[in-house]
């Protein structure tokens, strides 16, 4: 099975994330099957799929929070064990109590070593690191505000900062744009693109709408019917590829740089393709 590798921008030579033949079954149902793709250093990859396609399940499997029934996941060449700080995670639907006494910068500081025992040690170095990250995500103006009182977009930035502060090589985000208005959504995508480019952090984020990501996305992993296709945007977002993935006719329309994927009703003329031809692109 081929896996595309881009030469890393910094450091580690191989791909940051390698997923091979991953399968996950939940309650007797096969949610993911033979998922194979890789993410190279500093690449921006979108994980696209409609609701219920298995995006969250896949991300949880990558983090080791969900047991895989088949296949392997390697981060920086190693299979899952506690990879201290190598992977940053921004989960879906984080609810923050407005009455909670925690400022944005406190939450970010917790990302430095929140998993270690003991009390946080106040040092100039820590404070400077936190300030630096807050500046990178453009959150200085509300750094001292209560985190539970911030808007959706602002909270998203704080959570991204929290994930970034430990200098991860890979950033995983689960539907970060889901509840944001158009403007905040654009800001977050721009921010993530900038971070990926300037810091060399590989970004894998899931979404059910592909268009907001088009400006910065380099590669895409498209999930449907429990299977995945991966490759560059041009390689994957095509009628023939997606039709083969879905197993029935799918149209792809390009309008002014925007993409529309429309599922038709009729099945394909030829019988269901094998996994190889569907995944052979990525």
């Amino acid at each position: 099975m081929e896996s595309l590798q881009t030469g890393g921008r910094t450091g580690f030579g191989g791909p940051i994330l390698e997923v091979e033949d991953l399968g996950v079954s939940l309650s007797g149902r096969q949610v993911l099957e033979n998922v194979t793709f890789s993410v190279g250093s500093g690449e921006f990859t979108g994980l696209i799929g409609s609701n219920g396609a298995g995006k969250t399940t896949l991300l949880r499997a990558l983090l080791g929070l969900q047991r895989a029934s088949a296949g392997s996941v390697r981060v920086l060449g190693q299979t899952r064990s506690v990879r201290d700080g190598a992977v940053g995670y921004v989960p879906q639907k984080v609810v923050l109590d407005p009455d909670m006494p925690m400022r944005a910068r406190d939450l970010v500081a917790l990302g430095l070593d929140g998993h270690r025992f003991g009390m946080p040690v106040r040092s100039k170095q820590r404070a400077e690191t936190v300030d630096r990250i807050l500046e990178e995500v453009d959150a200085q103006t509300f750094a001292n505000a209560r985190v539970g009182l911030l808007s959706g977009g602002e909270q998203q930035r704080v959570l991204i900062a929290h994930a970034l502060v430990s200098s991860p090589k890979l950033l995983l985000l689960d539907e970060p744009l889901a509840n944001l208005d158009l403007h905040s959504s654009q800001e977050i995508v721009g921010l993530l693109g900038r971070i990926s480019r300037d810091q060399g952090v590989a970004v894998l984020l899931s979404a059910h709408e592909i268009n907001p990501l088009l400006p910065v996305m380099e590669r895409v992993v498209y999930l449907a019917a429990g299977r995945a296709v991966s490759g560059t945007t041009d390689e994957v977002i095509r009628a023939d590829v997606l039709s083969a993935l879905y197993g029935h006719h799918v149209d792809v329309i390009n309008v002014h740089g925007r993409v529309l994927v429309i599922a038709g009703q009729e099945p394909l003329d030829h019988p269901n393709p094998t996994h190889e031809s569907a995944a052979g692109i990525g």
Partner: protein, 296 residues
Amino acid sequence: MHRLWTSIFEPGFFSSQPVHVAVVIGGTAAVVSAIVGVFTVIRGQSFAGHALTDVSAAGGSGALLLGISPLLGFVGFGVFAAAVMDAIGVRRVRGRDLATGIVLGASIGLAALILYFDTNSAATTGATQQILFGSIFSVNSSTVPVILVFGVVSIAIIAALYRPLLLSAVSADIAVARGVRYRVVGLLFMVALAVAVGLSALAIGAILSTALLVGPPAAALRLTKRFGTAILLACIIGVIATSLGILLSYDSYYWGSAHRGLPVSFFIVTIVFLTYLASGMSLARRADPRRSRRTG
């Protein structure tokens, strides 16, 4: 055979007047609590229900001090507190729990003070035990009609609010969108809850009445998927628990040599608790491996 009969139903059980009164009170409390309790559990208001029981403790002890019927104290103060809790009402679940807890704490503190006066007034010894843990055998039979009236009132409120309550439990937003007067329904429900709690407080004490309010409904909800059936089942479980509890307490006076007996409330709470655990085991055995959501 006769020996077996008398060891289960100790002599005088069926002819004793306090027992008759106790069975009626216990049964009424059980039925009202079961009906109100099913809604309480599905609305996730078990904590609020429990808070009201502690609040009614303050009312009951106050009534004792003033020399009026404890029932009026339980119910009256409970309804008042229900209105206050609804007024403070915070929208977020965590904020609501906190507010409920604070009201609970203040009420218990008040109960502590009043009970202190009670015990010092010498006319009412054993006040703490009576108010908090019940004294079903010593209720005057003249109170029975009042109890029945309160019971009917509470059930009537629930019957009138049946559908809006159900809808609001599923989703507050949908209910409001359909024109349900959410705040009014919520307040009326709290009143019905306060009355139910007050009745139970008389039967098994303020502190323990949560058991009748939450136990049988929760067990019933685990055993059946149909809502109407759950209410019926909860009533049955409740009545059996109270009647059996009364019987066992009566019998316990004949156990051992000390002839002191164990309180009714203890038996009722234990039966309810065991029933709930048993319902969990039946649930586990029937459990669908695909189902991951908890139901009760």
